[in-house]
């Protein structure tokens, strides 16, 4: 198992290099330089700026320089926040995003699996149909529609919850962002759970367990839940990517000073190094979490472990 994990980790390195090279090239293929302003600077000053950011060197050398910086956790200086480095910006903003993302993921898994299991056990009942219609709606409606509509309803109209991040403190300000982030994932997970649970409930070992007089709750808990969770587990990779994407929107809507907000601001301000650094950071995060999901999958499913 450890050997397998190490091999997978090594296998991720070429992918990561490819990602870094791709992102780096995209940024450096840009027409014009990052400091092209309306204000014309004297050529000596321009040369000094270019030298300070290594822009005067040939591209392969710039790339090697960037890579060696990366290895030391240095993503270079931000082009817009002149006194801060990209690593500092990511380090200060990420914990909050991580907190929100982890809470959303937990909520999505618990609610999604429960709703899906319930729907599978009461297949074709009225409640099953209601749950599945909700799930279809949840899948179709993007986060940037869900979040503002929830704010309009629960914060502006009913005034139950705060509309923004900065105006309040405590757990209440987490509710709307986390629910907005989690809703589409709840929908996906509920659908996946329902489909695989229905299949598992029809399998022979479940029939055997039932015929031995085990109640429904015990059958689900002891026999059906684990195999039914496998498709849900393999969805965790895409779910993580979706929550990252959603966090960009949610942080923008609620004014949360997380990594997503830095990313959008950086993109609108054309802060090349910041955007490049965050893209590489996100890609690494997603690759590592995908790896973790794969390993978990092997740990839970003995059929894969044996291979």
């Amino acid at each position: 198992m450890l050997r397998y994990a190490l091999l997978r980790l090594l296998g991720a390195i070429p992918t990561l290099l490819l990602v870094i090279a791709l992102a780096f090239l995209m940024v450096h293929a840009a027409p014009g330089g990052p400091f092209d302003d309306e204000r014309v600077l004297p050529p000596e000053i321009e040369a000094n700026i270019a030298a300070a950011y290594q822009l005067d060197q040939p591209l392969p050398q710039q790339f090697l320089h960037y890579l060696s910086g990366l290895l030391r956790g240095d993503l270079g200086p931000s082009y817009r926040y002149r006194d801060r480095t990209v690593s500092e910006l990511i380090g200060s903003a990420f914990p909050l995003s991580l907190q929100l993302g982890a809470m959303a993921m937990l909520l999505a898994t618990v609610v999604g699996v429960s709703a899906g299991t319930y729907a599978a056990l009461h297949k074709d009942s009225l409640l099953d149909r209601i749950v599945m219609t909700f799930a279809m709606t949840g899948i179709s409606i993007p986060v940037f529609v869900i979040a503002p509509v929830l704010v309009l309803l629960l914060a502006v109209q009913l005034q139950w919850l705060p509309a923004g991040w900065t105006g309040s403190t405590g757990i209440r300000r987490y509710i709307l962002p986390v629910v907005s982030l989690a809703l589409p994932q709840i929908a996906y997970i509920a659908r996946l759970t329902r489909a695989s649970m229905i299949e598992v409930l029809e399998s022979d070992f479940v029939r055997t367990a039932r015929s031995q007089g085990l109640g429904t709750a015990a059958v689900v808990r002891l026999h059906a839940l684990k195999p039914a969770m496998l498709p849900v587990l393999s969805y965790m990779g895409p779910a993580i990517a979706a929550i990252l994407t959603g966090s960009v929107v949610v942080e923008e809507v609620f004014g949360i000073p997380g990594l997503g907000q830095h990313f959008v601001r950086g993109a609108l301000n054309r802060d090349y190094t910041l955007v490049l650094g965050i893209v590489i950071f996100y890609a690494t995060l997603v690759l590592l979490l995908n790896l973790l999901v794969d390993l978990l999958y092997g740990a839970i499913d003995p059929r894969i472990r044996r291979r």
């Binding site: 992918t15 992102a23 995209m26 529609v145 929107v249 993109a267």
Partner: protein
């Protein structure tokens, strides 16, 4: 297994057709123009008087015409982006499937690698680096969505490769490129067309996501994502500015997803047979 027979499919198809028709005909019926500002009529709620059926925005522009214009742009971007992804995906998948062996293995490994990436962030990187124009949006979204298409096409090509007419062509020395254009591509048409209806909602999602963040369609042009963004800023006094474009976007995506679900069921049934 009759897709057209299902009620949800019929309702979704009619609704989509109706929305698209309204989007292109509606602006002709309205006396207003999507660019025309009217500072006497700022933030008017929906009313039949003045022919502002969806109300007006913070610059006094008619929201009905703007919403319809947004639907036009959103649908246009989605269709063109889907065609871009179709061309890339079909070419890539057909080449991998027909070449087979090590080339196929390497090409598909590359696709697997790209699958794991949060692609939307690369699209944003593209939008940052280059000028935000229409063409780039098409290409960027198409470049995101070709992976599924490549996988499907490769699978189909693998089975086509074993068929007599392809083997006959190979034996008589027809070139690789010609086999793809003459013999493989035409036989992929059915599945590819169905698959495009599945990629359109994904393209809509990416486009409106970018426009919502202010990185996609730029003023004075508009799209549903940009309209939702505008609505967010005015939601406290003018809820209609948020709710109308949001509902329109949700409705379009819901219809596409119902259609896509039905198509997927159909294909699963075919493949298991």
């Amino acid at each position: 297994m009759n897709v057209a027979g299902s009620k949800t499919v019929r309702v979704s198809a009619w609704l989509l057709g109706g929305i698209v028709l309204l989007a292109f005909v509606g602006p002709w019926l309205s006396p207003h123009d999507y660019l025309q500002t009217d500072f006497e009529q700022i933030l008017q709620p929906p009313a039949l008087a003045n022919a502002h059926v969806f109300g007006t925005d913070d610059l006094g522009r008619d929201l009905f015409v703007r919403t319809m214009h947004g639907v036009q742009i959103t649908v246009l971007v989605a269709v063109v982006a889907s065609i871009v992804s179709l061309v890339i995906g079909v070419l890539y998948g057909a080449v991998a499937g027909l070449a087979g062996g090590r080339i196929d293995a390497v090409m598909m490994r590359f696709v697997d690698t790209l699958y794991a990436l949060p692609f939307i962030f690369f699209v944003i990187l593209l939008m940052v680096v280059f000028e935000r124009n229409f063409l780039l949006i098409f290409v960027a979204i198409g470049a995101v969505n070709w992976l599924d298409m490549a996988r499907i096409v490769r699978g189909q090509t693998l089975s086509l490769r074993e068929r007599e007419f392809v083997q006959a062509a190979q034996l008589t020395g027809v070139s690789f490129g010609k086999i793809i254009t003459r013999h493989i591509a035409p036989n992929l048409l059915g599945i590819v067309i169905v698959y495009v209806t599945l990629t359109i909602p994904q393209a809509i999602l990416v486009e409106s996501f970018l426009s919502f963040l202010g990185l996609g369609i730029q003023e004075p042009q508009t799209s549903l994502g940009a309209l939702v963004d505008g609505g967010v800023n005015q939601m406290e006094g003018a809820a209609w500015m948020l709710l109308i474009p949001a509902a329109m976007l949700a409705l379009i995506l819901l219809c596409f997803n119902f259609l896509g679900d039905a198509f997927r069921d159909l294909f699963d049934a075919r493949q298991s047979r």
